[in-house]
């Protein structure tokens, strides 16, 4: 019988690194790693490194799946509404994609990317530029999952965007702001709504004319303060 031997220190480190990678890949899909290579140049974005994140004291949602830009034109109420009502890809108002999944829009393959923003806002200009995609006259879809430990009534989704944007919570359109505008915290605010216990899907469509583009979003409680106790992940499984 071969005597049992302990691994040498270098070998232990190597094994630990491999295990870490295996464990990480269990909840961070490999496409994110690939996407991160392109997004690594985005100064305010990074790939998710944990299964979920908790919003800070100011409540901003900092983890999103963003679809690569779709060419479009027009920022007026009617133009934006027509744009988001048009089906660009199947189930665009219900799908909860996975990081790296692709959809075909007007003959072009566009990928969803999971990103965390280091700021209160998600800089879509950084996102598109890092991927070598257009930043002007574009529509970007975003989706995330907000988990609530309990049902909460009289909540409001509060957003800001550059430029126009339309927002849905659990499939219901709750906010639309239009025109050439800059991101202002709590610019568009929904009417009172109820957050379900468990996962709540928040979806947005941001339309930009030119220049900077970004958005921010958070939930406010019945006293207009940032709603506490939420967590954010990119799957509707494993909620409370």
């Amino acid at each position: 019988m071969t005597p049992r031997r302990f691994l040498s220190a270098p070998a232990s480190f190597a094994l630990a690194a491999v295990l870490a990678l295996v464990l990480a890949s269990a909840f961070v899909p490999t496409p994110t790693l690939r996407a991160a290579e392109g997004l690594a140049t985005a100064p305010t974005l990074k790939p998710p490194a944990t299964p979920e994140i908790i919003p800070g004291a100011d409540g901003f949602i900092q983890r999103w799946l963003i679809l690569e830009p779709i060419p479009t034109v027009g920022l007026t109420d009617n133009a934006v509404q027509a744009m988001v009502k048009k089906e660009h890809f199947p189930n665009q108002l219900t799908v909860l994609p996975k990081d790296g999944e692709k959809v075909t829009v007007a003959g072009a393959d566009l990928a969803w990317h999971a990103v965390d923003t280091t700021e209160y806002n998600l800089n879509l200009f950084h996102f598109a530029r890092a991927l070598g995609k257009p930043t002007s006259n574009v529509l970007l879809w975003g989706v995330t999952v907000v988990n609530s430990p309990e049902e909460v009534k009289d909540v409001r989704l509060a957003i800001g965007s550059n430029a126009a944007s339309v927002w849905w919570v659990n499939g219901t359109e709750v906010i639309g702001i239009y025109g050439d505008r800059q991101t202002v915290i709590d610019d568009g605010v929904s009417k009172r709504l109820t957050l379900r216990k468990g996962p709540n899907i928040v979806r947005c469509a941001v339309v930009n004319g030119g220049g900077a583009m970004d958005f921010c979003a958070r939930f406010l409680d019945s006293r207009d303060a940032p709603l506490k106790g939420l967590s954010v992940r990119l799957t509707d499984a494993g909620g409370n």
Partner: protein, 496 residues
């Protein structure tokens, strides 16, 4: 608040707003007091005016002791009335205290009791002991009375808040002003303010009555006006004078309604619209730079309604059309895309991309831009004010709909339409296709002490909690409980 907003407000308020409703003839009205939900004021000769809501007034019951220019204060479970009488030829006079536990003549506790003389003048001294004014000092609970009328000095004496009588009959009155009458003291933020009536009374439209003021850090004076002139040497900065068709405001009375809403009462010597009668009025009391400012209630007209918090204005949630039509951004198509209905690039007037059309651009006509508006209810939202038709609101008093303190209820409609701002059962806002007079379409518009306004629906379907219009976001307004601190519920009415 911002200076521009305050100036705009003063411009809006320099003219008289809607007058009170009902029987409002009175001379020298007392401070208005509330008793069992009703408002009461008493004037010279025992005139009593009563109101359920502060807007519609009717004649009440004259108290047994009639006299000149009474003042009223509610202390504990009693209503104390100080009322003067001549004792022979002026300036020989005295001020008597009478009291009752209720002002409601149907109450079993309605009974005026005589308590005796509180101050007097002997006809030779430099004072005419009439026109009392009461102040319960909020800083220390002391009760004070000022009195006097032109002849000699305005005097100050301390009263016992338990009895309403002089605290020390041996203490000499303090002289604090001269050559005026109907003095009233108020306290605000470390200052005592003396508001008194200057000019001549009782000559109808020829009366020079006007309200003037000074202030002091001590209740005993000196009361200096804004120019530093002591009121005991004739000083006094104008607080309110004659304007439009009302002449001779006098006999100030303060009312603090809570939540930064204050009003003052006065009478005009002559209301030209009421045959030159002396009438009661109630107006907003504002504060600026440490001085009271006389405002008026909202004047009917067309306004942009701007949030002090966000700087954005209420608008119908429809796609706006730029005044004069859409234009292309320099260097190519603008972000708004091609012009929509009624749009199209305006003709160039030369002078390059910023040279304009070379001729005045007329105001937008709502009939031309509203053809594509939905027929039913349309959401309310907020946006940068761009002089567009869906951003202009007409505010008009609603007849026979009642009112609140000093004002009728208003309807707020998109200018030149019947589309009416309304509250919903969910505590949100909407714009209905037509005004029906329902309570959720009636608006109480209260000027706050900083000159901004609070807008509150008369009622919200299925709800009893009072909610005020709130700018919860830059682009969204809702209804929520009024918060005196902060700007969420403060609105500026600007003439568009």
């Amino acid at each position: 608040m911002r200076l521009s907003a305050f100036i705009t407000l003063l411009v809006l308020l320099t003219a008289r707003a809607v007058a009170l409703d009902g029987e409002i003839r009175i001379h020298d009205p007392s401070t208005i007091v509330q008793c069992d939900g009703r408002f009461y004021t008493y004037g010279t000769g025992g005139t009593c005016l009563v109101s359920e809501n502060g807007w519609n007034w009717q004649r009440g019951t004259t108290p047994p002791r009639r006299g000149m220019a009474p003042d009223l204060i509610h202390l504990g479970d009693r209503y104390l009335m100080y009322v003067a009488r001549n004792v022979g030829a002026q300036p020989r006079a005295d001020i008597n205290l009478v009291w009752t536990k209720s002002l409601d003549t149907n109450s079993p506790t309605y009974k005026w009791e005589e308590a005796g003389v509180v101050a007097s003048s002997d006809g030779a001294e430099d004072c005419n002991a009439i026109d009392p004014g009461l102040l319960l000092d909020p800083t220390d609970g002391k009760l004070w009375m000022v009195y006097g009328s032109y002849f000699g000095f305005i005097r100050l004496v301390e009263l016992d808040p338990k009895t309403g009588l002089r605290k020390d009959t041996n203490a000499a009155p303090v002289n604090i002003a001269i050559n005026c009458e109907a003095p009233v003291l108020i306290y605000e933020d470390g200052w005592y303010y003396l508001l008194a009536t200057h000019g001549s009374c009782c000559r109808g439209a020829d009366s020079g009555y006007n309200l003037r003021m000074g202030r002091s850090k001590k209740i005993t004076g000196p009361y200096l006006d804004r120019e530093g002139v002591d009121m005991i040497r004739g000083g006094g900065t104008l607080f309110a004078g004659s304007s439009e068709r009302v002449i001779g405001p006098g006999h100030f009375g303060r009312l603090q309604l809570g939540d930064n809403v204050e009003k003052f009462s006065c009478h005009y010597e002559a209301d030209l619209d009421r045959g030159g009668a002396s009438v009661l009025d109630i107006r907003p009391l504002l504060w600026k730079d440490g001085w009271p400012v006389a405002g008026n209630n909202v004047r009917e007209g067309t306004y942009q309604i701007e949030s002090l918090r966000t700087g954005t204005a209420l608008e119908l949630a429809v796609e706006g059309m730029p005044v004069g039509g859409r234009r292309e951004r320099r260097g190519g198509p603008g972000p708004g895309g091609p012009g929509g209905p009624g749009g199209g690039a305006p003709p160039s007037g030369g002078g390059g991309p910023f040279g304009g059309t070379g001729q005045p651009i007329p105001n937008q006509e709502v009939a031309k831009v509203s053809t594509n508006w939905p027929a039913g209810a349309i959401p309310l939202r907020m946006g940068n004010y761009l002089c567009q038709a869906h951003q202009k609101w007409n505010i008009a008093a609603v007849t026979n709909a009642g009112g609140y303190f000093g004002s009728p209820y208003f309807k707020i409609t998109v200018a030149n339409t019947d589309r009416a701002l309304a509250a919903t059962a969910e505590g949100e806002m909407t714009v209905l296709p037509a005004f029906t007079g329902a309570p959720e379409q009636l608006w109480q518009i209260d000027p706050l002490t900083d000159g901004t306004f609070r807008l509150t629906p008369k009622a919200i379907p299925g709800r009893s909690d009072p909610l005020a219009l709130s700018a919860i976001g830059a682009s969204f307004a809702t209804l929520s409980r009024f918060e005196p601190v902060g700007n969420k519920h403060r609105w500026i009415l600007k003439a568009p």
